[in-house]
């Protein structure tokens, strides 16, 4: 790789100081003081029909501006998913509906002058429900006698296997080769079912939105969203407002992780402001974030893996059942990623089958969440690889090395499976998985520690897993950037790309500064405003650095060419003879003009013009980042409790545009993955009520959970990425569940196949083994 000055060097994030100082930054900070406060009545039932709703008393209360029920909306099915159009998610939701399909679903909404009045008004609304038996067990949901969606005015946008009569939001099937025969012919076959539980995003900023009608009579909305352009489109389509009448601004977002890809408060907030003409605001309570948005998909994955006795993996066979809850947001695509960004890890198989059903239940919906199905798939695959190694009497690392994907290779799966559609064939032009594995073994002294060391009643053990993800969705995700040259030679970079705390404003500014040869501080960034910035699909699918970054690189290169042309005109020489070092244009005779002089002249003095370049980018492939994750634990065999002593990650993300921020992405993902692996879990009452609706009952990792995190990056360069970059946003979350399950097995002989991995399950496993021995 060529030497760089701004990219791949240390740069603190450009906005960290102002945010630490508490300056106005987040959605709620910009809300008008007189905004009406919107409060929503949430369903106490997992499944019911509203038979009667009386809002007359509520409307009479002084300070109540508007009450909205399902009767106030035209039935116009949509999906909150927040994806490109047409969406691969079924249009199966209404702004408000006569049915409520999970505890926490919307019944009706009130907007009032203050919160107390709005809450009082909700109390004054009388609702009669016809309560139905809910479908809570996802394993019995398909063809259940109760239909979660009995209505007939919902639809899929293109074939995704949507069949609400059978409680199917989507279904998928693919097979390469003859799996049945290959498994029959394999020397060894291992079979196991794995269960994962829903996980809450638990971003620190709750979903927030506010809206007003501006002086141009347009709807101006501020939203803590990952997808401002999708929000604009979906509001327009669903509320039937011309799209040019809507402006969506995304201020600083306090974490997303996929949880803010979908629309949550936007629809009701827009409706209130459009109907009253008054500003309105909706900030989710933490309870609403936990039970009325969406979570990660619960899955059961039935895995079969075949191999020859010398350890060549021959076949992978997966049937999965995924619980999308009440609405099919991301139903198909999350499930497909469970296969498409997991199974190619072992690309030398003769046959592979991946199929499954994504079922409706009367639980909280599931949707996009960092990893997007790959976490669930990785837990199953990387657990069963260790199981296979044991059965073969082989070292699990050696089994991986022998079978895993390597640089220059491909997998047929890339061609067959996309996201909701067919995929895109690609070779692994950058894949340093072998290095990641080897380096991780060294860093962790794996050979010295594997599988375990007994220390009295405690056992110290290690476990590992490898993983891959993607970089955007090829031919679908588009990002665009505009760069403008200002007088005195500084630049504005405007991007649709959505900074949600991951550091994209900084990373994209670094790419622009590198291409323009300037200092980072001379690139002023403004992102995610549907009026002022070019389009971008949004912050999801690990796309921003790769897709939007390529757009920024191309826009900057284009502007650089334009500036050189103007300099050549001024110096009266050929364009080819100009050398530009970021500050000065010099021709072959040694005559020169500074950028400052050039830009001032273009602004004020001669042939005045505004130089601006726009470029967009849509990926033609999705180069996967790869990693190897290693965990060391200390397990107490008497109690089943365990401590995570160390988690070491060696990661190939291509070039790290900003090494510290990339490290933050990996480590944040690791710890979120450890949470999922060890204790994060929704608990429901028998009637489907969430009893884990706050941080006291739904625990996420705190400062004290992890003793040591180590992260290293492989020296890697992806030719199709900006300055060689791939993605870093999701890959970190993939390995902890399997690595930890493998470490626990190595310590105790107990194979945990149902997440989370709790001391209770470990202890019960130990006791069971003791009993079996007697």
């Amino acid at each position: 790789m060529k030497k760089t000055n701004v990219v791949n060097t240390f740069n603190p994030s450009i906005d960290g100081k102002g945010i630490m100082m508490g300056r106005k930054a987040f959605t709620e900070d910009f809300a008008p003081k007189d905004a009406l406060i919107i409060k929503v009545m949430r369903s106490p039932h997992a499944f019911a029909k509203i038979t009667h709703i009386d809002v007359s008393e509520a409307k009479k209360l002084p300070g109540v501006e508007i009450v909205l029920t399902h009767k106030d909306f035209k039935r116009n099915a949509y999906t909150r998913a927040g994806q490109g159009y047409p969406e691969p998610s079924p249009h199966d939701k209404f702004v408000l509906d006569e049915y409520v399909r999970h505890v926490g679903d919307e019944v009706c909404a009130v907007a009032a002058v203050d919160e107390a009045t709005a809450l009082k008004a909700l109390d004054a609304i009388k609702v009669d429900f016809e309560v139905y038996d809910p479908v809570l067990d996802f394993e019995g949901a398909k063809d259940h006698k109760v239909r979660v969606h009995p209505e007939d005015d919902i639809h899929e946008m293109f074939p995704i296997g949507f069949d609400p009569k059978r409680n199917l939001a989507a279904a998928y099937h693919m097979e390469i080769g003859d799996v049945g025969k290959t498994l029959d012919d394999s020397d060894v076959v291992v079979e196991e079912s794995f269960h994962t539980t829903p996980q809450a995003h638990a971003m620190m900023e709750p979903h927030a939105v506010h809206a007003e009608i501006d002086y141009n009579d347009r709807l101006l909305m501020f939203s803590s969203t990952q997808t401002p352009f999708h929000v604009r489109r979906i509001l327009s389509q669903t509320l039937e407002v011309p799209i040019h009448k809507i402006r969506v601004i995304k201020p600083r977002v306090g974490g997303g992780f996929g949880g803010k890809q979908a629309l949550h408060g936007e629809m009701l907030c827009a409706a209130v402001t459009l109907r009253t003409g008054k500003a309105s605001k909706m900030v989710y309570t933490r309870k609403e974030v936990f039970e009325s948005t969406y979570s990660r998909h619960r899955m059961r994955l039935d895995f079969k893996i075949g191999a020859t006795k010398d350890g060549k993996i021959t076949a992978l066979d997966v049937y999965g059942l995924s619980d999308t809850g009440a609405y099919g947001e991301h139903a198909l695509t999350v499930y497909m990623v469970t296969g498409s960004k997991v199974l190619p890890l072992y690309n030398k198989v003769d046959a592979v089958r991946f199929h499954g059903d994504i079922v409706y239940t009367n639980r909280m919906p599931a949707g996009a969440f960092r990893g997007y199905g790959a976490v669930q798939g990785n837990f199953a695959l990387e657990s069963i690889i260790d199981m296979l190694a044991e059965k073969l009497g082989m070292d699990p690392v050696e089994l991986r090395e022998k079978n895993m994907i390597k640089e220059g290779e491909t997998s047929k799966i890339f061609e067959v499976m996309g996201e909701g559609t067919e995929g895109t064939a690609m070779d692994m032009e950058s894949c340093k998985l072998e290095y990641c594995l080897k380096r991780g073994l060294e860093l962790t002294d794996w050979r010295g520690k594997h599988p375990k060391k007994v220390e009295d009643s405690k056992v110290r053990s290690v476990g590992m897993a490898i993983a891959m993800q993607g970089s955007g969705i090829p031919f679908i995700d588009m990002g665009a950037a505009t760069i403008k040259l200002n007088d005195d030679g500084f630049y504005n970079l405007t991007i649709g790309a959505t900074e949600i705390g991951q550091g994209s404003d900084t990373v994209l500014a670094q790419i622009a500064a590198e291409a323009l040869g300037c200092e980072l501080k001379h690139v002023v960034v403004y992102s995610s405003d549907t009026d002022l910035t070019p389009f971008d699909t949004g912050a999801y699918a690990s796309s921003t650095t790769y897709v939007s970054g390529n757009a920024v690189y191309k826009a900057a290169s284009k502007l650089r060419d334009m500036m050189i042309r103007e300099a050549a005109r001024m110096l009266k020489c050929d364009v080819e003879s100009i050398d530009f070092d970021g500050r000065t244009f010099t021709d072959s005779s040694g005559s020169s003009v500074t950028l400052s002089k050039l830009s001032n002249t273009l602004t004020y003095n001669d042939e005045q013009q505004q130089l601006t370049a726009t470029h967009s980018y849509v990926g033609h492939k999705s180069p996967p980042p790869f990693m190897a994750g290693f965990v060391e634990v200390m397990v107490d065999r008497e109690t089943g409790e365990f401590d995570i002593l160390d988690y070491t990650s060696v990661v190939d993300v291509g070039t790290t545009i900003n090494p510290k921020l990339a490290q933050g992405q990996i480590e944040g993902g690791i710890v979120q993955g450890i949470g999922m692996a060890t204790y994060e879990e929704y608990h429901m009452s028998k009637k489907g009520k969430n009893i884990t609706g706050d941080f006291l009952n739904y625990k996420i990792p705190s400062q004290k959970e992890i003793n040591r995190l180590r992260t290293e990056f492989a020296d890697s360069y992806e030719d199709s990425g900006p300055y060689g970059a791939k993605s870093a946003g999701e890959i970190g979350i993939d390995t902890p569940p399997a690595a930890l399950a493998n470490a626990i097995y190595n310590a105790t002989g107990v194979r945990i196949t149902t997440l989370p991995i709790t001391p209770e399950k470990i202890l019960m496993g130990i006791k069971q083994k003791e009993k079996d021995r007697q």
Binding site: P12, S13, D15, G16, K17, I19, M20, M21, G22, R23, K24, A25, F26, E28, D29, H201, A202, M203, M204, E205, P206, R252, V253, G254, G255, F257, V283, T285, R286, I500, G501, Q502, G503, N658, P659, K660, L661, Q663, G664, E667, G668, G669, I670, V671, Q672, D694, F695, L696, I700, P701, S702, Q703, K704, I706, R708, L709
Partner: protein
């Protein structure tokens, strides 16, 4: 009713209702650095200092602050800016929603235990949940910040 308190060094008289909590009272008076995270004293996002001690403002009744000294990040801007340099240095600032609260706890920590080691720092900051960073970089940043004060 009226609340008499010293906020960021200035004596203030604020109109409050009996059930109001400081989180709302402060935000309503444009101390917007105080962020809303959970409403149940469990995430640390809304941390402020009352009499120099970190407390969650989401469950601190405004009336209880009568006559007391309240500090938000608006009152310790130099400290926050300096700490931000260390967070930036370690890549510890992602979304930053929890950072003003953390800045106040670090301010209190630097007064109470300027020699805090890594374990003490972790213990002191346990009440501040962060979903972005994985904490490791935060602890390194705070450690270096405290060392820098010596």
């Amino acid at each position: 009713m009226k609340l008499h308190a010293t906020i960021n060094g200035r004596k203030r008289v604020l109109e409050i209702q009996p059930g109001d909590v400081l989180l709302d009272t402060l935000r309503d008076h444009d101390f917007i650095s105080v962020r809303r995270g959970c409403d149940s004293t469990s995430c640390g996002v809304c941390t402020i200092l009352v009499e120099g001690k970190p407390v969650p403002s989401c469950t601190y009744l405004s009336a209880r602050a009568e006559g007391k000294t309240i500090t938000t990040v608006e009152g310790v801007q130099d400290h926050a800016a300096r700490l931000a340099g260390f967070f930036g240095g370690e890549g510890a600032d992602q979304c930053g929603f929890c950072n003003p609260g953390i800045a106040l706890s670090v301010y209190a920590l630097s007064n109470e235990a300027p020699d805090a080691d890594e374990d003490t720092i972790r213990h002191y900051l346990t009440g501040h949940l962060c979903r972005c960073t994985g904490y490791h970089s935060q602890v390194q940043a705070v450690k270096k910040y405290l060392e820098g004060l010596k």
